[in-house]
């Protein structure tokens, strides 16, 4: 019996589901070259390079040619600042949650302590509770705390504490940590404790053991945990929506705001860049990982 045999039904369904998954992606990409300014109908690709020429809302020629909307996007200050915020938030929260989560994973798989069952349980909160519940919970928490602090210290006007980059980053750390812990812990549980014992036996103290043995062996797990935290942060809308303030708008929030008002091919250009960047980064990581594993 051929283990790879699949029925016509399965093959057809697979084809349809993949088409379903990719149709929107293609639409997004194609429309980012749309000459129509309103981006309602696809009026064809901007084909000519040259001085900007717009007739009836149709871009006939542009200095950037088909990449007109990408150029417009690059000029857009709001997008640039939102992209900067998104990356800043993602980097800081990824690094923090990876470190914090790895430590917790170590505790949960290598130590016994009183708070262990409680800690394990608390990790499942972000998985089993809808994001919006956490989002408004955190929003309420911060606004109550800030109200209290502002009146306590007597802060006025712009000096008042409020929502911003800090609250977004802290919230992102909170919902990423459990995922890092679960991924790293799974890896730790598959890793025989005798490696760490061997290191200590050979004279390495706890810290040296961690940095020279545990961490290098755990690295693939830590990296995939970190990658997960990074994607979660990049993709997050709901919690950012409730915790962001002036100056901490991220790309998803910015796009959402745009979509409720106007639709422009700039959003498509942004999507296309987004897809390309993520695609390249992931391919690069996979390539690195493959090289690593074939190396050893």
């Amino acid at each position: 019996m051929n283990p790879h045999r699949r029925s016509i039904f399965v093959k057809t369904m697979t084809f349809l589901v993949y088409s379903f998954l990719y149709l929107p992606i293609f639409v997004l990409i194609i429309y980012s070259f749309n000459s129509s300014k309103t981006n309602i109908l696809f009026e064809g690709v901007i084909s000519k390079f040259g001085d900007l020429q717009i007739v009836d809302g149709n871009v006939l020629q542009s200095p950037c040619g088909p990449f007109h909307w990408f150029c417009e996007l690059a000029k857009n200050k709001e997008v640039r600042s939102a992209a900067g915020n998104t990356l800043e938030i993602a980097f800081i929260s990824t690094i923090s949650s990876t470190i914090i989560g790895t430590l917790a994973a170590l505790a949960l798989s290598r130590y016994n302590f009183k708070l262990k069952p409680f800690s394990e349980m608390s990790l499942y909160i972000p998985i089993v509770i809808p994001e919006i519940v956490m989002g408004i919970g955190i929003l309420t928490f911060f606004s109550q705390v800030f109200n209290y602090l502002n009146s306590l210290i007597g802060l006025q006007g712009d000096a008042r504490l409020g929502l911003g980059l800090f609250t977004v980053i802290v919230s992102h750390i909170a919902f990423s940590v459990p995922f890092v812990v679960l991924v790293v812990r799974a890896r730790l549980q598959g890793m025989d404790q005798s490696y760490e014992e061997a290191a200590m036996d050979l004279g390495a103290n706890e810290l040296t053991t961690f940095f020279r043995v545990t961490l290098p062996m755990l690295l693939p797990g830590v990296l995939s945990g970190g990658l997960m935290a990074f994607t979660l942060s990049l993709d997050d809308f709901v919690i950012t929506f409730f915790t962001n303030g002036p100056g901490s708008t991220t790309l998803p929030i910015y796009v959402f705001g745009l979509l409720r008002k106007i639709i422009t091919p700039q959003v498509n250009a942004l999507s296309t860049i987004w897809i390309m960047v993520v695609f390249t980064v992931v391919l690069l990581l996979q390539w690195l990982q493959n090289r690593e594993s074939s190396h050893k």
Partner: protein
């Protein structure tokens, strides 16, 4: 220097069971291991031998009692502050380091100058016959080679005691036998005390200067291999080491040297050695090794001789293993095939009548638990 390389003084180690109760994995153990000795901890899984070893290494701390290494109490010292090194059952070679880096790791931790490290690592690899492998990764080596690297990595530190936790368990039989002899000669060469944990009695008998037989967290008997095999001090040890026949009976006569017991299944009496610990009318078992029973055509003794029916026999090359019956007692007898012959009668095949003789010095009278 202390008299003992390792000493366990009234050591207890309890663990919590998943049900919430407590169990003594090691139960009031006293043990003294001499300097330069090849000492084995032998027992089936869960007998406490590995836990004892781990307490010497510092991976576990005793619940009660104290572990001494080279005369020093170890208390709750972590592994990296103890003058012992371990060879793990899984080898635990660091997969992300080369062979050289693995062996050098322990010396780096001691802050040995790098020139000396290279030199000592080279010597250690030479000692385990793996010179030239230093640039490879553990995954690129065979199981036997990995085993040697693990050994080199521990020995390069020149520990006062080397702890080995079933290091040969993962090797195939032939390689295992080779490594047994090699380990033993290596130990003689370096003169380091070896504490060797195994569940394989043959391995323990082959390699050890002394063996401690453990069961249910307790040490039952400590002694050289010959003593453990020839003079087991209890029914468990007699049963666990090698093969034996047990004759159950009641003591009917006793003096300093000999004990006479009535064996109901034999419908007769059997005279055996007095190993101490039994009194008149005690229930006893008499242990007789199968290879120590003589099968003859006529009796050679006036006592301890029984007429038997040969029930079955199995030719296994060096020996013929027979199952015989006398009255209702089944007896295993192993006859060495020292005559080269193809005559089937030499192996007592089929329903042949014969006499089994047991010399009293080969019959150990032990308390029936």
């Amino acid at each position: 220097m202390s008299d003992f390389a390792v000493e366990l003084r009234d050591v207890v180690k309890s663990f919590q069971t998943p049900e919430g109760g407590w169990i003594n994995a090691v139960d009031h153990v006293d043990m003294k291991i001499n300097n330069g000795e090849f000492f084995s901890l032998l027992g089936s899984s869960g007998c406490g031998k590995t836990t004892s070893l781990r307490m010497m290494a510092g991976f576990e701390w005793p619940t009660e009692g104290e572990v001494f290494i080279a005369g020093q109490p170890q208390g709750k010292k972590p592994p990296f502050q103890r003058p012992v090194n371990t060879v793990f059952q899984s080898y635990a070679l660091f997969q992300h380091m080369t062979v050289h880096q693995n062996v050098a790791f322990g010396l780096e931790m001691e802050k040995v100058p790098s020139k000396q490290i290279t030199e000592r690592v080279g010597k250690a690899l030479e000692m385990v016959k793996l010179s030239g492998m230093d640039k490879r990764y553990p995954k690129q080596l065979s199981g036997g080679q990995q085993q040697r690297i693990a050994l080199a990595r521990a020995l390069v530190k020149l520990p006062s005691v080397l702890l080995l936790d079933e290091p040969l368990g993962a090797l195939d039989l032939k390689l295992r036998k080779e490594m047994q002899l090699e380990l033993k000669s290596l130990q003689r060469e370096v003169g380091i005390t070896f504490v060797f944990v195994t569940h394989d009695q043959e391995e323990a008998l082959t390699m050890s200067d002394r063996i401690a037989v453990m069961s249910h967290g307790k040490v039952l008997q400590v002694g050289p291999p010959i003593e453990i095999y020839e003079r087991p001090n209890c029914k468990f040890v007699a049963d666990f080491i090698g093969d034996t026949n047990f004759f159950e009976g009641v003591v009917t006569g006793i003096d300093d040297k000999k004990v006479t017991a009535h064996i109901p299944l034999l419908n007769s009496t059997l005279v055996g050695m007095n190993t101490g610990g039994v009194r008149l009318n005690d229930k006893v078992v008499i242990s007789v090794r199968p290879e120590k029973i003589r099968l003859t055509e006529t009796c050679v003794l006036t006592y301890n001789c029984f007429e038997v029916n040969v029930k079955s026999s199995a030719y296994i090359g060096s020996d013929t293993r027979l199952e015989v019956e006398s009255e209702r007692q089944r007896i295993k007898i192993w006859e060495q095939n020292h005559i080269s012959t193809l005559d089937p009668r030499a192996y007592h095949q089929g329903e042949v009548k014969a006499f089994a003789t047991i010399l009293p010095e080969n019959a150990l009278v032990l308390p029936a638990e």
